[in-house]
């Protein structure tokens, strides 16, 4: 059993968290977004082997946050509240 760090509640059981996708995958805006941009936003993923920056939600408190994690070792490298950096 692994503990994940919620930036608001602290370390909690991994089963309390849901994966929410790549950090920095920003919804395209406007009426004339080309099809491949939409397809990229909706479906394409980095899916890195190694360090990944991801959006997670802590189901118990309902907060979304950014977690940096190694997808091979499952080691958590950082965890921070969702700020403007989501766009980065």
């Amino acid at each position: 059993m692994q503990l994940f760090p919620c930036p608001f509640c602290g370390p909690r059981d991994e089963t309390e968290f849901h994966y929410g996708g790549d950090a920095g995958n920003v919804r395209p805006d406007g009426a004339d977004v080309p099809i491949d941009r939409w397809a990229g936003y909706l479906y394409l993923r980095g899916n890195p082997k190694g360090t990944a920056r991801e959006i997670w939600v802590h189901v118990n408190c309902g907060e979304f946050f950014v977690m940096e994690r190694d997808t091979v070792t499952h080691k958590v490298l950082s965890s921070a509240a969702l700020g403007g950096e989501h766009a980065a």
Binding site: M1, E14, T15, D36, Y43, G46, P48, K49, T71, V72
Partner: protein
């Protein structure tokens, strides 16, 4: 040259103390150029090489495998073979695979131990029964064998199920496919390897692709831990590692990698003579020819390349299993393991050209590509040989994510993701 297996060869070896068996496939040094390269020595890669030689007469082919053949998901799965999918596109694909499986031992001269003991997808409520009837109808209309089972029918094929009145997952009926069953997973890899090698294909193990050779915007070969190897037609069937190689080729895929785990019990006498899947508990189970109870379930909860699986998911699976079959509570678990599978948003595979010219994809089989190996191999071989789709692979092109023509088999694929 490897020899043909027959009753006579078995008999002769029996007399000779089993000392005359030869290596089943050659292990040659890589040659600098090939007509085609297949990346990944799982079932799909090996089948692709075999059908390139057999169906298209292209024999200067290398299969490049970073570890050992069948060491990926092909040797880690729970061996269920079936074609009980919903959409016509899927039926064409998995139906082709199922038919080829039925003739595979003969075609390869290698016993893949296909055992068509049938499979039942359980329904635990009236609502699930309605969906079950709809699925059976769809399968029958698409020409796939299917039957709607009553509770009595389920009791007949799986008498040890928990049919007690206070069962948490009561049986209202099920979807039955009589031609479904299991096959020996290693034998599928080894049988294709041996048959491909006999036709001249070079199977090269311990050869990891580290980069692509890209010239004039086209893929012209690969860099490997055993040097550069060139070809103008390259197929990739690396399952959970598709995104890693795609990144080296300069594109992204609609794929997340997850661990999928399984476990087996100690071997016991025959007690379960069919494959039972319950979408309600997220568990499926069968008994192997050796007597082990083979248990599979849903995906792990987090994207992962850690090939081991995590405890919360295993707990869920075992809890579900014991609700269904309390008698299994006496069994000891012998082994647990996981494979890294490539999960696509519509739970259907990706077969077709990649964004990098000359490089073709066979991936995205997720939790269910073992049953599809003969079809995946046939279709990737066709793409490599002709450069074009045929009618069966066309719907599975990568372009469906831009056109929106998804083939959403989340239900037909059977287990939770």
């Amino acid at each position: 040259m490897t020899r043909r297996y027959s009753a006579l060869s078995l008999f002769k070896e029996g007399l000779a103390g089993q000392t005359g068996w030869k290596q089943a496939w050659r292990s040659p040094e890589p040659k600098p150029p090939y007509d085609a390269i297949v990346i990944g020595g799982g079932g799909h890669g090996l089948a692709t090489a075999y059908y390139l030689a057999k169906n298209h007469n292209i024999t200067r082919v290398a299969v490049l495998e970073k570890g050992w053949i069948g060491g990926g998901n092909t040797g880690r799965n729970t061996t269920v073979v079936r074609s009980n999918y919903y959409y016509p596109e899927s039926v064409d694909l998995y139906g082709l695979a199922h038919r080829l499986y039925e003739g595979l031992s003969k075609d390869l001269n290698y016993n893949v131990m296909l055992s068509q003991r049938g499979m039942v997808n359980l329904c635990h409520s009236t609502a699930e029964m309605e969906i079950g009837a709809r699925t059976v109808n769809a399968m029958q209309i698409n020409g796939i064998d299917a039957e709607l089972f009553s509770p009595e029918d389920v009791r007949r094929v799986a008498p040890i199920y928990n049919f007690s009145p206070d069962a948490r997952f009561p049986v209202f009926g099920g979807i039955w496919q009589g031609r479904a069953g299991t096959a020996r997973h290693d034998a599928v890899a080894w049988g294709y390897a041996r048959a491909a090698s006999r036709l001249g294909v070079d199977i090269i193990q311990n050869c990891e692709i580290t980069d692509f050779i890209i010239e004039g915007g086209r893929c012209r070969g690969v860099q490997t831990t055993r040097g550069a190897i060139r070809a103008d037609r390259i197929g990739m069937a690396v399952a959970g590692h598709s995104s890693v190689l795609a990144a080296k080729a300069g594109f992204r895929l609609p794929i997340n990698s997850y661990a999928l785990q399984a476990c087996v019990s100690e071997p016991v006498k025959p007690i379960l003579d069919t494959v039972v899947l319950s979408p309600g508990t997220g568990v499926y189970v069968s008994q192997s020819d050796k007597g082990e109870i083979v248990i599979g379930g849903g995906l792990d909860r987090i994207p992962s390349y850690a090939q081991r699986g995590n405890l919360p998911t295993l707990e869920t699976v075992i809890a579900g299993l014991l609700e269904m079959f309390p008698i299994f509570g006496q069994l000891k678990l012998m082994r647990q393991w996981a494979g890294i599978v490539d999960v696509v948003p519509d739970s259907s595979p990706i077969i077709g050209p990649s964004p990098l010219p000359n490089l073709f994809l066979n991936c995205g089989w997720g939790t269910g590509g073992f049953k599809a190996i003969p079809a995946g191999g046939t279709l990737l071989a066709n793409l490599l040989a002709t450069g074009k789709h045929n009618d069966i692979s066309r719907p599975f092109d990568l372009d469906r994510f831009a056109t929106g023509r998804l083939i959403d088999e989340a239900a037909g694929s059977g287990i939770a993701h």
